[in-house]
Amino acid sequence: MISTVYEKEKREMRQVYAETILELAKANPEVIALEADLMSAITTNKIKAEIPNQLINSGIMEANMMGVAAGLSLTGKIPYVHTFGQFATRRTFDQLFVSGGYAKTNIKILGSDAGITAEHNGGTHMTFEDIGLMRLVPQAHVYEASDSTMLGYLLRRIEKEHGIHYIRTIRKNAVKLYEENETFEDGKGKLLRDGCDVTIIATGIMVAEALQAADILERQGIHAAVIDMYSIKPIDAELITEYAQKTKAIVTAENHNVIGGLGSAVSEVLAENHPVPMYRIGVREQFGQVGKVDYLKTYYKLTNTDIVEAVQRLIEK
């Protein structure tokens, strides 16, 4: 991990996507990126001229785009599909499930504008369920990128891996967490900070919140471990179990519904291996709405203060 200043990166996540796609497409003619009329939103419009035959705007037809991706993969092409997370998953769920997962085709999916970061697009565009949906696809790999280094690494790594890979990301600037040379294995979590009293397991924008919560807790004499669980499926059961044994309490934190996402995945591991007291920070029985990230973080109780309070309640028990 890089530092504890929690500064926003200069490079936006969408730039990372566009630049990495350009790099992959130039190196491999089989790489084809598909968009559903959101090229400007993810900045792939800036690379279109350089790879005109490897970047295709399917128009506003996500279901067909997913099927076309499946068809492309039948002939050895390597399709990367991008749209906002809710269109990439809940709108096309049967297409990615049947033409994708069930047919064992090869599709890499980027779902952008994770959760509350959809901001002013509001409830229709705010997905708190994409990770849950994607976890239900047998053999699918599900990740949430927490910074630009990780997003670039994951996009490169999945090129050579067959199957359905879903990466959830925000579009704009993440908090810098990793050095450029950091690597990210499939099915592994990253221990960012060690501790012995509680473990906070987080993904995406909640990783920085978890680290800040750990700073606050440290000042209170509570030593919190923090894990970035970017690989939500497969999940690092070994690390979760180890830290359940070591710290005896777990708090998960996600910019997603507590049902189906990281909290569910972690609690499944704990229930089967080493049950300990836990609490899931996340969205509970609510839809999205318009608002700035800071407002929505407070509204849905996704702040570092919410994490601190959850830890305090858990430890008091």
Binding site: G67, A70, L72, L74, T75
Partner: protein, 281 residues
């Protein structure tokens, strides 16, 4: 095209389809039988395929978007030599390689998993796009059902195919006039498939889907142009080729009663006799 050879191939596919479904005891008779002539022309003449090497890189692709016609496709693949004909009798049995809807990971010769209507056509478009981008000569053939065209995804795929000028894509609309719950005109009136496909930017023609010569001619005409994807509207009858089944009201999925069974067995007998006589003659 060797008409006699393709007509014989057609009769063999129809016979095997009936035997396969009769052995199972139930199934999608109607929509399997209405595509037999098209399958016969494709696998008997038009398509470049190699049954001993189903994944041959230079092959033409076939995707049955109306996946419930799977039993008809399996019969065509078996007669063509992709797998032993006896395997047809494992249709839908536990652990089978022939599920009611095609699965590319189970059956030799099946290019794409289909059955969730509307999805096969998008995959076919993806295959055709890939070959166009790579400047390969492979063609892609796809059969969609008339009822299947209720699905919006089909029309997304058609827009995409026309925009990308996928002249290497041949879409057959099996216009057998019925879907599961009744007549297409009573459920969602198609009004005019040919006019629609033409308006969507396809090179379109309408043929008698029970005439292998007409189907073949339409495909050749489609191959002569290089600007548009091709749509061939097949004027067919659900249960095609077996008069009794054609006249049966609910013939999408049949669980035959006694008289149905007798008629199916009679049709099997007639086809067997015809094929034997042809061999003898």
């Amino acid at each position: 095209m060797d008409l006699e050879k393709v007509e014989r191939f057609r009769d063999e596919i129809r016979l095997k389809t009936l035997q396969e479904l009769h052995h199972l005891g139930f199934g999608h008779y109607g929509g399997s039988l209405s595509i037999i002539e098209t399958l016969a022309v494709l696998y008997g003449d038009v398509m470049q395929v190699n049954p001993t090497d189903p994944m041959w890189e230079d092959r033409d692709y076939f995707i049955l978007s109306k996946g419930h016609g799977g039993p008809g496709l399996y019969a065509a693949l078996a007669v063509k030599g992709y797998f032993p004909e006896e395997m047809l009798y494992t249709l839908n049995q536990n652990g089978t390689k022939l599920p009611s809807h095609p699965d590319k990971n189970l059956t030799p010769g099946v290019d794409m998993t289909t059955g969730s209507l509307g999805q096969g056509i998008s995959a076919a478009v993806g295959v055709a796009l890939s070959h166009k981008l790579s400047e390969r000569k492979n063609k892609t053939f796809c059969i969609v059902g008339d009822g299947e065209l209720n699905e919006g995804q089909c029309w997304e795929a058609f827009q995409f195919a026309a925009h990308h000028k996928l002249h290497n894509l041949f879409v057959f609309v099996d216009d057998n006039k019925k879907q599961l719950d009744g007549l297409t005109k009573d459920i969602i009136d198609p009004i005019d498939f040919a006019a629609k496909m033409d308006a969507f930017g396809f090179y379109t023609c309408k043929v008698d889907g029970s005439d292998v010569g007409d189907i073949h001619q339409a495909i050749l005409q489609g191959m002569n142009q290089k600007e548009k994807p091709v749509a061939i509207i097949l004027d067919t009858i659900k249960g095609q080729g077996v008069r009794y089944l054609e006249e049966l009201a609910d013939n999408h999925h049949i669980r035959p009663n006694e008289s149905d069974t007798a008629a199916i067995e009679q049709a099997i007998h007639e086809l067997e006799t015809k094929l034997k006589q042809e061999v003898g003659g």
